[in-house]
């Protein structure tokens, strides 16, 4: 039995088929994730259409610099993730572990900045609820904007935390030498997940932080 065959589960004809099943299965999962976030985006578009002015005004209370930095941090993390997959493909274990670690560090940096932003919003009374304060004429729709802000960035952050968990598990596996040029499907699929979470943020950043800047 070849080294590659050792990774084959008995219900697959060969490793090629096994890999294809995992790969397509991951894409099906990501399609459901597109629907999951898509529902929130669709609602956002409807309410933004109804309360255009309030959304623009509320959006200007977000810190565009921190949002921009976080976008860059997340893109960097996607780059290091791509390099981790590349290291796995070329069977270089040390760079693989290093890039996975770097991706985790960047992910934590993103969450740290996000945490600071949330903290500021609490201080500024911009968290929906009884202590929400905003210019009276726009207060209610502005509260709706911030509900979207916390729901969407919150769900995104949950995905980041799950991603960091998956990356941590990969590091332990990589240290035990579980991956090779022939078999590194978990690294590849976690990469897909991580890039997907990056894409969600690529849309969240302009829609939440930038829409009202020119006003």
């Amino acid at each position: 039995m070849s080294k590659v065959e050792a990774f084959r589960q008995h219900h697959f004809e060969d490793v090629e088929q096994q890999h294809e099943a995992s790969w397509l299965g991951m894409w099906v999962f990501l399609a459901t994730e597109v629907m999951f976030f898509g529902g929130m985006f669709a609602c956002y578009f409807v309410y933004r259409h109804w309360y255009l002015q309030a959304f623009a005004s509320a959006s200007n209370h977000l810190d565009v610099l921190l949002g921009g930095i976080n976008t860059a941090v997340l893109i960097c993390s996607s780059f290091t993730m791509a390099l981790a997959v590349h290291s796995a493909e070329t069977a270089r274990r040390k760079p693989l572990i290093a890039f996975l670690l770097l991706t985790i560090v960047l992910g934590l940096l993103f969450l740290g900045i996000k945490f600071y932003e949330y903290h500021t919003k609490f201080e500024e009374h911009l968290v929906p609820g009884s202590s929400f304060r905003f210019e009276a004429s726009l207060a209610r729709p502005a509260e709706i904007f911030f509900s979207f802000y916390f729901a969407m960035t919150g769900m995104h952050a949950v995905h980041m935390i799950i991603g960091i968990g998956l990356l941590t598990a990969l590091i332990f596996k990589a240290r035990r030498g579980r991956f090779s040029a022939a078999y590194h499907t978990p690294v590849e699929l976690t990469g897909l997940y991580w890039h997907f979470v990056d894409i969600v943020w690529i849309f969240l950043f302009p829609l939440l932080y930038l829409v009202g800047r020119h006003l």
């Binding site: 090629e16 294809e20 629907m35 894409i199 302009p206 930038l210 020119h214």
Partner: protein
């Protein structure tokens, strides 16, 4: 797929640089007055470009087989139906029944 070629670090670096450039571009453009409706267009166009770059290169779809393209395309096609169908209703309703033309006043009961 395991038949996929290994994407070069150079390609990844180019995509990475493009993504950072487009982030700077979308942020800059947001502060310029482009006229009504153009900001949404600009922001979404740039975001779609960035997403396509990530999907094609970081996620290896460019080097994947047709079946993968169908799976990826289906996800985004349904997203388009979801948002397109919803907005089609919201945007055209005022023309069909003027009584509901404006913002639903009861959308956020006090």
């Amino acid at each position: 797929m395991s038949s996929q070629p290994v994407v070069s670090v150079r390609t990844y670096a180019l995509v990475f640089a493009s993504l950072l450039f487009l982030t700077a571009l979308t942020t800059t453009v947001a502060f310029v007055d482009l006229g009504k409706g153009m900001h949404e267009m600009a922001a979404l166009t740039i975001a779609v470009c960035k997403a396509v770059l990530v999907i094609l290169y970081f996620m290896h779809v460019r080097y994947s087989d047709r079946l993968t393209w169908v799976f990826v395309g289906a996800g985004f096609f349904w997203l388009l139906i979801l948002i397109g169908g919803t907005m089609d209703d919201v945007l055209t309703r005022p023309q069909l029944s003027p009584s509901t033309a404006s913002v639903p006043a009861q959308a956020y009961p006090r």
